[in-house]
C-alpha cells in the first residue's frame, strides 16, 4: 500500500507535461495495485482496470484454470523447501528422493488413465504435449505419412501445429463437426487415406464441453492403422479415460485443469504397438529423450497428487458438478427466454455450460457481470471481440455466437455461488434487453431475420 500511496503522491508532485512517460507508468502502477482504502472493512473495494467491486469475484471459469487443491499444495511444499534435488542427479540423496517422488507421480498419472507408467512423459503442459504429438509423429514418419486429420473445434495449439505442418508440405484435413459439436464418425472414416498418419480429436472441448465418442473414434483408427491423438486436458479426472479401451495412441494432459499447478503437463505415448515420435526439444535426453529439460519435481509431484485425488473424488465431484449445472441452467431458464445451450447437452461434461443469450451483446454482458469471473470462450482468445471459431464450426449464427458465455463449475463451487451467478446474470440480461431495440421488435412479433439491414 505504501508503494501505491507513494506513486499517487509522485503523480501529484510531478509536473504534467515534460515527464509524461514517467507519470503514466506511475499511473499504471497505481491502477494495477489493489487499493483497499483504509478504514472499516465493509468499505473495502477492489479497483483494477477501472472496475470497482466489493470483493473477489466468484470464480466460474474452471476451463481456463482451476484453483490449486490444498491437498495438492501440501504435497508440493516439501519439494520447494528441503527436498530441492534434481531428479536426474544420480550421486546423492537429494537426487534420489526427487527421482522417487517423480516416479511415484508418474505412476499416479498413469493409474488415472489406465496406462503403464513407462508410457507417461512429463512436459510443461498440454500445449507442449499437443505440439510434440502432432509435429513429432508426422515428422518421424515424414517419408510415408503425409496427411493429418484434425477437427475444426480443436484447441488453437493443435490447429497451429497443423498449420506448421502444412508449411512443411504435409496435407491437413480440418474435419467439420455436427451442429451438436460431435464428430461425424462416417465422415471421419471416409477422410482417412492410406497416407494418413494421425487423427487428432479433443476428448472434451474447452469451449463447449462436448465429450467426443472416443471409443468409436479409437476403433476406426485402429481398423485403419492410424494413430489416434486426443487432447484430454479438459477431460482428465472429469470423465473416465482408459487408453486401452479407447484405442488412444497419443494423449495430452494438463496439471492446472485438475486442481494442480500451472506449468506442468504430461504426454501419453503408447508402447504396444509402439507409437514413435521425433522429440521437439534437444538437450540432456531427460524423459527418455522425448522431452529434454530438468523435470520440475514440485510441479510433477503436484500433478501426481492432483491425479490421485481426482481418481478418488471423480464420482463425488461429478455428482456434485451435475447437480450444480442443473441448478444453474434451470435457474436461468426459469427466468429468461431466448437461452440456447451451445453444443450437445447429452454428450457433455456438466462442468462446462456454454450459453447464448439472444439479443444481448456478449461483451457488454461480461462487462456487466464484473462480480462473476466467467468468459465468452477460450481464455487464449478472450482478448479478441471476434466470435469463437468453435461456435462458428458448429454453425451457430453470428449473432448468437457473439452472445455466448461459458460457465465453468468445479470442485470448489458452492450452491450459493450458483444462485448468485443466476441472479446477477438474469438481472444483467434483462437490463441489456430493455435497452435493445432488437428485443423490442421481437416482442412486437417482427422476425429480425427478415430485416434488410443494408440497402444496396
Amino acid at each position: 500500500m505504501a508503494a501505491a500511496a507513494a506513486s499517487r503522491f509522485l503523480r501529484r508532485a510531478i509536473p504534467a507535461a515534460p515527464i509524461r512517460r514517467l507519470s503514466t507508468s506511475a499511473a499504471v502502477a497505481a491502477e494495477t495495485s489493489l487499493s483497499a482504502p483504509s478504514g472499516e472493512d465493509e468499505a473495502r473495494v477492489i479497483e483494477m482496470k477501472g472496475v470497482k467491486i466489493s470483493g473477489r469475484p466468484l470464480y466460474l471459469d474452471m476451463q481456463a484454470t482451476t484453483p490449486v487443491d490444498p491437498r495438492v499444495l501440501d504435497a508440493m511444499i516439501p519439494f520447494y523447501l528441503s527436498r530441492y534435488g534434481n531428479p536426474h542427479s544420480r550421486t546423492h540423496l537429494y537426487g534420489w528422493e526427487s527421482e522417487a517422488a517423480v516416479e511415484a507421480a508418474r505412476a499416479r498419472v498413469a493409474a488415472l488413465v489406465a496406462a503403464n507408467p513407462k508410457e507417461i512423459f512429463f512436459t510443461s503442459g498440454a500445449t507442449e504435449s499437443n505440439n510434440i504429438s502432432v509435429k513429432g509423429l508426422m515428422r518421424f514418419h515424414r517419408a510415408r505419412k503425409r496427411h493429418v486429420i484434425a477437427t475444426q473445434t480443436e484447441h488453437k495449439c493443435v490447429l497451429d501445429s497443423c498449420r506448421h505442418l502444412q508449411q512443411e508440405g504435409f496435407e491437413v484435413t480440418y474435419l467439420p463437426v455436427r451442429p451438436d459439436g460431435l464428430v461425424d464418425l462416417d465422415l471421419l472414416a471416409d477422410s482417412i487415406r492410406p497416407d494418413t498418419g494421425l487423427v487428432s480429436v479433443m476428448a472434451v472441448n474447452n469451449e463447449i464441453g462436448v465429450v467426443q465418442p472416443l471409443e468409436e473414434i479409437g476403433r476406426i483408427c485402429r481398423e485403419k492403422g492410424v494413430v489416434f491423438h486426443t487432447d484430454a486436458a479438459q477431460a482428465l479426472g472429469k470423465i473416465p479415460i482408459d487408453v486401452e479401451k479407447m484405442g488412444i495412441g497419443l494423449m495430452s494432459l494438463s496439471g492446472h485443469k485438475i486442481y494442480g499447478p500451472k506449468g506442468v503437463g504430461a504426454l501419453y505415448v503408447r508402447r504396444r504397438p509402439r507409437v514413435r515420435i521425433e522429440p521437439q526439444m534437444s538437450g540432456g535426453g531427460q524423459e527418455r529423450g522425448i522431452r529434454s529439460g530438468t523435470v520440475p519435481t514440485p510441479l510433477v509431484v503436484g500433478m501426481g497428487a492432483a491425479c490421485e485425488i481426482a481418481m478418488k473424488e471423480m464420482e463425488y465431484d461429478s455428482r456434485r458438478v451435475s447437480a450444480l449445472q442443473d441448478r444453474l441452467l434451470n435457474g436461468i431458464r426459469a427466468r429468461l427466454d431466448g437461452v440456447v445451450v451451445n453444443g450437445s447437452l447429452e454428450h457433455r461434461y456438466p462442468g462446462n455450460l456454454n450459453i447464448s443469450f439472444a439479443y444481448v451483446e456478449g461483451e457488454s454482458l461480461l462487462m456487466g457481470l464484473k462480480e462473476v469471473a466467467v468468459s465468452s470462450g477460450s481464455a487464449c482468445t478472450s482478448a479478441s471481440l471476434e466470435p469463437s471459431y468453435v461456435l462458428r464450426a458448429l454453425g451457430v449464427d453470428e449473432d448468437m455466437a457473439h452472445t455466448s458465455i461459458r460457465f465453468g463449475i468445479g470442485r470448489f463451487t458452492t450452491e450459493a455461488e450458483i444462485d448468485k451467478a443466476v441472479e446477477l446474470t438474469v438481472r444483467q440480461v434483462e437490463k441489456l434487453r430493455e435497452m435493445s431495440p432488437l428485443y423490442e421488435m421481437v416482442k412486437e412479433g417482427i422476425d429480425i431475420k427478415s430485416i434488410q439491414w443494408a440497402q444496396h
Partner: protein, 90 residues
C-alpha cells in the same frame, strides 16, 4: 491391521475435522472442506467391514493433518479482500 476405532474416537475426529475446516480463510476451500467432511462421514457410516472402517479412520486422521497445515498456509497468504460471497452486501 489396526483395530476398529471406537465411536467416541470417530466422533472426535469428525469434530476436529469440522473445526479445522471452518478455520480456512478462503471461502471456497472452507465450504468444500466442511462439506466433504460431512459427506465423507455420511458415506463411511455405511461401512460394516472393520478393516475398511479402520482404513477410513486412518485416512481421516491423515486429512486432518493436511488440513491443519494448510489452514496455516492459507492464513499466511490470505488476500486483503475477501470473496464477494462473504463481503457484506452494500
Amino acid at each position: 491391521m489396526m483395530a476398529s476405532p471406537s465411536r467416541a474416537e470417530v466422533l472426535s475426529l469428525f469434530r476436529s475435522l469440522l473445526r479445522t475446516a471452518s478455520k480456512f480463510t478462503d471461502y471456497n476451500i472452507r465450504e468444500y472442506s466442511k462439506r466433504r467432511t460431512i459427506d465423507g462421514f455420511r458415506d463411511s457410516s455405511a461401512l460394516a467391514d472393520p478393516s475398511s472402517v479402520a482404513a477410513a479412520f486412518v485416512d481421516g486422521k491423515f486429512q486432518l493433518e493436511v488440513m491443519k497445515r494448510q489452514v496455516v498456509v492459507y492464513s499466511l497468504y490470505a488476500p486483503d479482500i475477501k470473496s464477494v460471497m462473504e463481503a457484506t452486501s452494500p
